[in-house]
């Protein structure tokens, strides 16, 4: 199964986006092999940013869309043809700044699509500015003296917006990420994965994360809102990864 196009990959050497690409490819291969999805029914899409290039690299139906707009675009695909398996890629600038209203409403209506956010806490393609997830004091080219804004927590936002599948992963943990992506694609409803993705060129957070990340028990009940809330808010010396929350809810159908 060759899922790659002939396009030349132009991410920086060693970029952690390669980890996400490998995990996603692996997830699709597994799901197709197990006959859980059909390759031709997969539609991916991406916004603008380093993450967006993934549309070029994968030999799957794709729409390489606009900055911040991939969620409504692919929502239109899904509404028109509910048989398609729709997966959106986005970045932290793309999903949490430019397109935040779409993110909230996609979660609210529980449309059956998967959103994978490459969260590197910086605008990398435009050579380094702060994003909604950059820590306060982030020194970028537009904030040379440090960003004055507190970041927000996208998982907390998704929990309060009604997302029915909320997960966080780490780009350099390929196998685990692959399993989470598989679960997200199989989930009926809006599934959200925030992937911590160190930008080796502009915001190398590898050391920071590797000291703090740990995995949630994957065999526990995942429908506990209070537990999910508690774990989401745990972002200090320890950073939990895994599926925080998953519930069954009526999926969006306008007809």
């Amino acid at each position: 199964m060759n899922l790659l196009t002939q396009a030349k990959i132009t991410w920086c050497p060693g970029c952690s986006n390669f980890g996400i690409l490998a995990a996603f490819k692996g997830a699709i291969e597994d799901l197709v092999k197990n006959k859980e999805i059909k390759m031709e029914e997969v539609v991916i899409g991406s916004g603008i940013g380093c993450h967006g290039k993934i549309s070029d690299y994968l030999d799957l139906n794709s729409f390489y869309g606009l900055h911040g707009r991939i969620v409504p675009l692919l929502s239109g695909v899904k509404i028109a043809n509910p048989n398609l398996k729709v997966i959106a890629f986005s970045g932290d600038g793309d999903a949490y700044a430019e397109g935040i209203e779409h993110l909230i409403h996609a979660a609210k209506r529980n449309i059956d699509l998967t959103l994978i956010v490459h969260n590197n806490q910086t605008f990398a393609l435009t050579t380094g500015q702060f994003t909604p997830t950059s820590p306060k004091g982030f020194k970028g080219k537009s904030t040379p003296f440090g960003s004055a804004e507190e970041p927000f927590d996208p998982l907390l936002l998704m929990l309060s917006s009604g997302a029915t599948f909320i997960a966080r992963s780490y780009a350099l943990e390929v196998k685990k990420t692959q399993e989470i992506i598989k679960e997200a694609i199989k989930h009926q409803g809006f599934s959200f994965i925030d992937i911590l993705q160190p930008c080796l060129s502009l915001n190398d957070t590898r050391d920071y994360y590797q000291k703090r990340i740990y995995w949630l028990d994957e065999f526990r009940q995942k429908d506990n809102f209070d537990f999910a809330l508690e774990k989401i808010r745990e972002w200090n010396n320890k950073i939990p990864l895994g599926i925080f929350y998953q519930i069954k809810k009526q999926i969006y159908d306008p007809s």
């Binding site: 729409f63 390489y64 606009l66 675009l73 239109g76 306008p254």
Partner: protein, 537 residues
């Protein structure tokens, strides 16, 4: 109007918002339609739900009425409970009759309708039928109150207009339709499958109508979080192979710009309905304007094909709505249908000629790959469909290669050549009036109605030219219709004469005589005729 030489009669119904003025106007229009009259109904309303004055003007005649008139022979006011004709006025105790019947206050309008029915000598049975169709189980109380209004007027033994004589067989009441509904029916006829819209006057009633009828029409309607989402979903639906459209007004369309440009690059069909209202900004939300022609001409950044169609009445809205959807799919391009409040919300007796519409329910996408083999879309076996906002090669992969960029830009613009060729066989420009006259009036959109009506009151004959396709403008036909003109008079609902600028840009013809109205109200035929007469030679 009273009695014009064409025997056009105008009635004005007024009242506070919430008193059912608009509904009364529509029902009276339907009654006239059923009684064999040609009808035009305009409602003028403020941007609020209750309170504030609303007017409904109904002009009717034995022959086609293209616009309502400003001076009614009869006025009926639901708040003041008065009927005025000429200098005379008398009291119609609507409130009392409603209270006696223990009916809700809104049914005052039924009393008024009964009175109108008697005054114009129309058959009560017809009114009854319309009530039954409109109100269903609630019809009885309305019929009862209408009967009271009818009897009240009868007992006054006032002179009436008598039975409206009509040789024509009664037109079906459904033949009275507004621009938005006619357009929506055209879209459906051409195979619309999904419709996305965020509420915005005066385009909202398209969403209301399609949402209400979605099961019957077999389509999906969605009201997303904003116009950006609406237009993106519209594009996504088309990418998936499902015929889609979205609708908005100027302010909402501003938010759709980036996606218009995306349609240009990705070559995914995109149909946007833009119903103009008076701007700039929030402007005058419930009143009309023709000020967004130049906006839509340049919608989206970058250079790409834009098709703009501008119907002038519900019949044209029906046909051009269908045409627009077909063109979007045929040319995989952005198509905009430009309406305005006066067209969107005014009702006119119309014949929707569905024999002229070819319903092509095709599945296609913006994919370049294997395009010669036919249409492809996600979900098809052994084919990968890729669309992109970046410049891309034939396989849909991003490129920065100058040779590919140039080739792709030329490939996209090649479509314009095919379109210009196709234009030749289409009715892209309409001509009315005295086709030999050297006096030529040029207009577009709903202004056409007032212009055609004004023709009935001109001192000298004139020819009227109405371009339906504004982009690409059919310069060949425009030039030939304007040839030999002694006077060309441009009539538009804006301050900058946007159509005349377009004509000058594309044909070099400068139109010096302009009649421009930018007070957010439609042209009144008699006033317009006066202004046109001033120019005629």
């Amino acid at each position: 109007m009273g009695k014009s030489k064409n025997k056009i009669t105008t009635v004005l119904i007024s009242g506070q918002a919430g008193e059912g003025v608009k509904e009364a106007g529509i029902i009276f229009g339907k009654l006239l339609s059923l009684s064999g009259q040609e009808v035009f109904v305009t409602t003028e309303l403020p941007s609020l739900i209750k309170g504030g004055y609303i007017f409904s003007r109904i002009s009717f005649s034995q022959e086609k009425v293209f616009s309502d008139y400003g001076n009614p022979c009869l006025k009926i006011d639901l708040e003041k409970e008065l009927i005025l004709f000429g200098q005379k006025s008398f009291h119609l105790p609507m409130k009392k009759l409603v209270e006696q019947a223990k009916a809700p206050p809104i049914t005052k309008n039924s009393v008024a309708l009964g009175a109108l029915c008697y005054y114009f000598g129309l058959e009560f049975e017809k009114l009854k039928k319309i009530f039954e169709k409109t109100f269903k189980e609630k019809a009885q109380i309305n019929i009862e109150l209408a009967k009271k209004g009818y009897e009240y007027l009868k007992n006054l033994k006032l002179p009436t207009r008598g039975l409206l004589k009509s040789k024509a067989i009664g037109l079906p009441a459904g033949g009275l339709i507004d621009g938005n509904e006619a357009l929506a029916l055209g879209l459906v006829k051409a195979g619309l499958q999904t419709y996305f819209a965020y509420p915005m006057t005066p385009a909202t009633s398209i969403l209301h109508f399609l949402a209400k009828k979605q099961k019957e029409f077999g389509l999906k309607t969605v009201q997303p979080e904003n116009e950006i989402a609406a237009v993106q979903m519209t594009l996504g639906s088309a990418f998936a192979g499902f015929r889609s459209a979205c609708g908005t007004s100027g302010g909402g369309f501003d938010l759709m710009q980036e996606t218009c440009s995306l349609a240009g690059m990705s070559e995914v069909p995109l149909l946007v309905i833009v119903s103009q209202r008076m701007g700039p900004s929030t402007g005058v939300p419930t009143h009309t304007s023709q000020s967004d022609l130049q906006l839509v001409r340049f919608s989206g950044h970058g250079e790409f094909l834009r098709i703009i169609l501008a119907p002038g009445d519900p019949e044209e809205a029906y046909l051009l709505g269908a045409e627009a959807l077909n063109l979007a799919w045929k040319y995989r391009s952005l198509v905009i249908v430009l309406l305005d409040k006066h067209l969107s919300e005014s009702l006119a007796t119309s014949f929707l000629d569905f024999s002229k519409i070819s319903a092509k329910i095709g599945l296609a996408s913006g994919r370049k790959i294997e395009e010669k083999k036919g249409l492809v879309f996600p979900g098809m076996k052994n084919v990968v469909v890729k669309a992109a906002s970046y410049e891309h090669d034939e396989k849909g992969i991003s490129t920065e290669d100058p040779l590919v960029i140039k080739k792709m830009q030329e490939k996209r613009f090649k479509k314009l050549q095919f379109l210009l060729k196709e234009q030749k066989s289409k009715e892209t420009v309409k001509v009315y009036g005295d086709k030999k006259s050297k006096n030529i009036i040029i207009c577009w959109g709903s202004v056409k109605g007032a212009v055609l009506e004004s023709l009935k009151h001109l001192k000298k004959p004139a020819k009227v030219v109405q371009p339906l396709w504004l982009e690409p403008l059919d310069t060949g036909k425009i030039k030939s219709y304007l040839k030999g003109a002694k006077k060309i008079i441009d009539v538009e609902g804006n301050i900058t004469a946007q159509l005349s600028s377009l004509i000058r840009e594309k044909t070099g013809i400068e139109i010096k005589n302009k009649i421009l109205k930018y007070d957010s109200r439609p042209f009144e035929p008699m006033e317009l005729a006066k202004k046109i007469n001033h120019f005629l030679i």
